[in-house]
C-alpha cells in the first residue's frame, strides 16, 4: 500500500499563527514525497479541531501524519485518541513542537518560520519509520504492600483493603500507630491520639484482607507495576509477598538535637521536645524535674530550620497547641512562644492562634535564640540583649527523613531529594507518585506533613491504585520499547549490563540477547551501549535519529 502522509499545522489560536508564517510553512511542505494533505486549523485540541483532524485522516486515507503544534507532553495523548477514533494505529503520527520551541521563544518571525519548517520536516522523516504498535496487556496483581504502620499507612490500608484486594501492612516496631499515638490531643478536634489509632486498629482487626507484619522490614524488591515481588523479613523468617503496588509511608524523625550547634545548652533538665511534652501531658501532670509546677514556659519553634534548610510547616501549630495545653492545665502560667516566622495556613489555624494570643501568650519573633543554664533556664535573644528566664522549655525540632529511607530508596529505585525525603514524581501534578510506576509515597516519608495532609495523601494514593489496578482489568505497559534485530546481535551482553530493569536476558541457545517487553521502560540506554545497533528502540530508532539530525542540520 502506498503511504499517504498528512501534515497538520495548528495555529494554537494566535499563539503559533502570529509568530510563524504558516503559509510559508505550508508551501515548504507540500512537495514532500507522499504528502497528500497539508492543512491548518485554529486549534486542533478543540472539539472542532479534533473532528477536523479525524475527518481529514479518513477522507484522505492517511497512513501516517505529522502534527505541528505544542509540546507532545501536552497533547500527544489527545491526538493518539483522535488517530484511534479515525481508525488508524495511534502510534503512526509524530508531533513537531513548534509552539514551545519556535513560536514562544524565537523573536524573529522569519527565523521562527524557518525553524518550524526544519522541525516539521524532521518529524516527517521520523514518522516514516514509525511502526504500528499494538497495545499490550498484562494481568496485574491487585494486592498492595504498605510500608509503615503510622496514620498514613493505616489509612491507606483501610481505604484499599476489600474482598478482592489484599493489603500487607509492614511495620518496623512492635505496634501500629506511629507517632500519632504519642499525641495527647490532636488538632482540631482535640481528640486523644491513641483513641484515633485505636478506632482504626479495631477496623484493621475486623478487616480480613489486611495482613499486618510487625517488627518486620522489607529486604528486597523486584518487579514492576502490577507485578512486584517483595521479600519481607519478620524476625528471622523471610517471606515472599507478591503485590501490584507499593505504598511507602515510613514517616519521619525529629532532628537529632545533639547535631545542632548555636542554640546554647540543649541538654539541660527541663528542656523537652514536643513529643516528650505530649507524653508528659498524657501522663497527667506538667512539672519540672524537681516536681514543681512551672511558673513560666518558653516554647521555641524552628529548631534546626537553618540546618535542614526547610520549614517543617507543622510545628507552629503544635507549638501553639502546647500553649493551649498549659493554659488548660496550669492557668496563669507565663508562656513565651519564640518563633522565626509563623506558618499558619489553612482556614482554622489563624483563628486558633489569635485565640491563644488573646489569652495572654507572648509571641516573640527572634532569629537568634540561645538557651543558657545560669541559675535556672534562660532564653537569650535579640543578640543577647534580651533575656527571658523560664522554668521549662519546649522545643519544636525539624522533621527529618526516617532512618530507613536510604536503603529503601535504593531497593525501590526511587529518588530522594537533597534533604533525604523521597521525591514525588511532580510536586503539583503527581504529588503521591514516584518515578517508579506503581510505587507511591505518602505522609511524612515525602516531607513534613500534618496529620490531615498525611491522611489526604493516603487517600490519594489509595485512589490512584484503586483506579489503575482494578481486579480483572489488565494493565497496558509502555509499547515504545527496545527490540533486538536477531540477525545483527552477536551476544556480547553489554545491553544486559546497562539495563536498569533487568529487561534483557540472554538466550543460551541462540546466543543472542532478548528483550522482555513487559519489563522494558523504553529509555534507550541499551542502544547506545550496542556498537552495532542490533538493539533498537521503537520510535527512537537509530535511523530515525539519524534522519532527524540530518534534517535539522539542513
Amino acid at each position: 500500500m502506498k503511504e499517504r502522509i498528512g501534515i497538520f499545522l495548528c495555529e494554537c489560536g494566535p499563539n503559533i499563527a502570529e509568530k510563524i508564517d504558516l503559509d510559508k510553512v505550508k508551501e515548504a511542505l507540500e512537495h514532500l514525497p507522499n504528502v497528500v494533505i497539508v492543512a491548518r486549523h485554529k486549534l486542533f485540541c478543540s472539539l472542532q479541531g479534533k473532528e477536523f483532524l479525524k475527518e481529514s485522516i479518513k477522507e484522505n486515507n492517511l497512513t501516517r501524519f505529522v502534527i505541528a503544534a505544542c509540546s507532545p507532553k501536552q497533547h500527544e495523548l489527545t491526538f493518539m485518541i483522535v488517530a484511534e477514533d479515525a481508525g488508524m494505529n495511534p502510534h503512526l503520527f509524530q508531533m513537531a513542537n513548534i509552539r514551545e520551541q519556535c513560536a514562544w521563544i524565537i523573536e524573529d518571525k522569519d527565523e521562527a518560520t524557518k525553524k518550524a519548517i526544519l522541525y516539521i520536516k524532521a518529524a516527517y522523516k521520523r514518522v516514516i519509520y514509525h511502526e504500528s504498535l499494538d497495545k499490550k496487556e498484562i494481568v496485574a496483581n491487585p494486592d498492595v504492600l504498605v510500608i509503615g504502620g503510622g496514620i498514613a499507612g493505616i489509612e491507606a490500608s483501610l481505604a484499599l483493603a476489600g474482598p478482592d484486594r489484599k493489603v500487607y501492612l509492614i511495620e518496623k516496631t512492635e505496634s501500629l500507630g506511629g507517632k500519632i499515638k504519642e499525641f495527647d490531643e490532636v488538632f482540631i478536634s482535640f481528640k486523644n491520639g491513641q483513641s484515633i489509632i485505636d478506632e482504626r486498629l479495631e477496623r484493621i482487626e475486623k478487616e480480613d484482607n489486611i495482613e499486618t507484619r510487625l517488627q518486620a522490614e522489607v529486604i528486597d524488591v523486584k518487579g514492576f507495576l502490577g507485578n512486584f515481588i517483595v521479600i519481607v523479613k519478620t524476625g528471622d523468617s523471610e517471606e515472599k509477598i507478591q503485590v501490584g503496588a507499593i505504598i511507602v509511608a515510613i514517616g519521619f524523625e525529629l532532628i537529632n538535637l545533639s547535631q545542632l550547634k548555636g542554640y546554647g545548652s540543649l541538654d539541660c533538665d527541663d528542656i523537652y521536645t514536643g513529643l516528650e511534652f505530649e507524653k508528659m501531658k498524657k501522663e497527667g501532670k506538667i512539672t519540672t524535674k524537681s516536681g514543681s509546677v512551672p511558673k513560666s514556659v518558653g516554647i521555641i519553634h524552628c529548631i534546626g530550620r537553618n540546618e535542614v534548610g526547610y520549614c517543617s510547616g507543622v510545628c507552629c501549630l503544635s507549638s501553639i497547641k502546647f500553649s493551649k495545653y498549659i493554659q488548660d492545665k496550669l492557668p496563669g502560667t507565663n508562656i513565651f512562644e519564640f518563633y522565626r516566622d509563623l506558618t499558619l495556613p489553612d482556614k482554622a489555624y489563624q483563628k486558633f492562634y489569635e485565640n491563644i494570643e488573646n489569652k495572654g501568650v507572648n509571641f516573640i519573633q527572634a532569629d537568634d535564640i540561645k538557651i543558657a543554664n545560669e541559675k535556672g533556664l534562660k532564653i537569650k535573644y535579640n543578640k543577647n540583649k534580651s533575656t527571658q528566664p523560664v522554668d521549662m522549655i519546649i522545643l519544636s525540632p525539624a522533621y527529618v527523613p526516617a532512618k530507613d529511607s536510604n536503603s529503601l530508596a535504593e531497593m525501590l529505585r526511587i529518588p530522594r531529594d537533597d534533604s533525604g525525603f523521597f521525591t514525588e514524581e511532580h510536586p503539583k501534578l503527581a504529588p503521591v507518585n514516584t518515578s517508579a510506576e506503581g510505587i507511591f509515597i505518602i505522609g511524612c516519608a515525602q516531607g513534613p506533613k500534618s496529620i490531615k495532609d498525611s491522611i489526604s495523601q493516603a487517600h490519594a494514593a489509595a485512589g490512584k491504585i484503586l483506579a489503575s489496578i482494578i481486579p480483572g482489568k489488565k494493565l497496558e505497559p509502555e509499547v515504545r520499547i527496545s527490540y533486538i534485530n536477531e540477525a545483527f546481535c552477536i551476544g556480547c551482553q553489554k545491553c544486559l549490563n546497562t539495563c536498569n530493569y533487568g529487561a534483557i536476558y540472554f538466550d543460551n541457545l541462540k546466543f543472542i540477547s532478548i528483550v522482555n517487553e513487559v519489563l522494558c521502560h523504553g529509555c534507550g540506554n541499551c542502544i547506545a551501549s550496542c556498537n552495532s545497533s542490533a538493539i533498537q528502540l521503537k520510535h527512537f530508532k537509530d535511523i530515525q535519529m539519524h534522519q532527524e539530525i540530518i534534517e535539522i542540520l539542513r
Binding site: E486, A487, F488, K510, F511, I512
Partner: protein
Amino acid sequence: MNKKIKINKSVETGLKELLISLLESRKIKAVFTLERNKDAVYYSLITDLEKVDQASPFLPFMPANGGKLLSKLTDIKSISEPIAAVIHPCELAAFIELIKKQQGSLDNLLIISSVCPGVMPINNISETNLDEKIKKYFESAKNSNIPTGLRENCEICSRIIPTNADIIINLMDKDIDNSFELYINSEKAEKFLGDENGEILDSDFDFANNTFPQNIKDIISQKEKNRIAVNEKYKFDQLGMDGLIDLFGKCIGCHSCGGVCPICYCELCDFDSAEHEYKKNVLKSDLNSRAGVRLPPNTILYQLGRLNHISTSCVGCGMCTDVCPVDIPVGMIFSSIGNSVQELFKYIPGENLEEANPITVYKKEELTNFED
C-alpha cells in the same frame, strides 16, 4: 547517434572546461570524479567550478569502485538534479549490475567514461616516481600500447569500451595532447552537449555494433590473449582440492574482498551471519574426523560461496586484489571464473540494463548438457 565532437584542447583541459561550463550553465549540479591530493586519491563530489580545476579525471587509479559509490549516492532515491560522473568502464558495468538489483538509478546521471587503458594498483599512489609513471602510462596509451604496471586484472580486461556511457572519450588517441573527441552515445548526452562545445563530426566508433578502429581492436585481442595466458598460468580449472588450498590457504577470513566488491551489496553478508557460525557439535564432529580444524573456519567456503553469489556479475575491476592483506590474487580468480560463467550464459555484466541477470531467469530448453 554516431556523432562525435572534436575539441581542440588537451583531453584533460578540454574535459575540465566542459565540466566547468556545464556547471556554470547549471545544466549539472555536480561532478563526480577523481581527485588527487598529495599521495591520496579519491572520488570527489564537486559542486564548485573552481574545484573542478583540482580534479584528475583520468588519473589511472581506482580508490574504490565508482559503481559502488554511485549506488550509495542513488540507492535511497534517484538524483533530482543532473550530475556528471567520470568513471571507468568496469565501474559503469558494476553500476548497471547494481541497478538491476535495485541498488541505484541512472536517472539524471550523465556518465562520462573513456576507452580505458587500465588502472594501477592503489598502493602505487605513494610511490616516489609516480609522476614519471603516469607520464609513461599516458605515452603508452596514446600509442595504443597496454601501459606497464597495471593492475593484474586490467591486463586481462578486454571490456575496455564503456558502451553504455553517455559520453565516451578515447584515451588511446595519438593526438590527445592537442585535441580529443567526445563520442555522443545517448540522447541524454545530446541534451547536454552541442555545437558550442566544438566541431560535430561523424563517429568512427559504432558502439551499438561493436565496430571500432583497428588500434582498439588490436588492444582488445591482445588482452584476450593475455587472459588465455593467465588462465594457463593459474590453471583454475585444474586446481583440484590441493590447488585450491594452496591458492586460498593464506586467506585470513577478513572478508575485505567482499567489502570492496561492487557486486557484494548485501548489508549483512550471509557468511557473516549466525548461520555460518561454527557450532559446537559441528566442530566436535569435524575435529573427530579430521584431527585438525582451521580457525576461523570456512575460509574456502567463503571464497567459493562468494564466487557463486557474484560470478555472473563480476566485472573484474580488481578492487579485491588491491585490498587483500595477504596478497591473494582474488580478482584474477574471480574474473577468470566469472568470465567462464558469463560465457556459459552468454551474459556480459553491465552490457545491457534491460537484460536480466542469468540466474534470475530461465529458458525451458537450455543447459541440457548438464543433465545426466
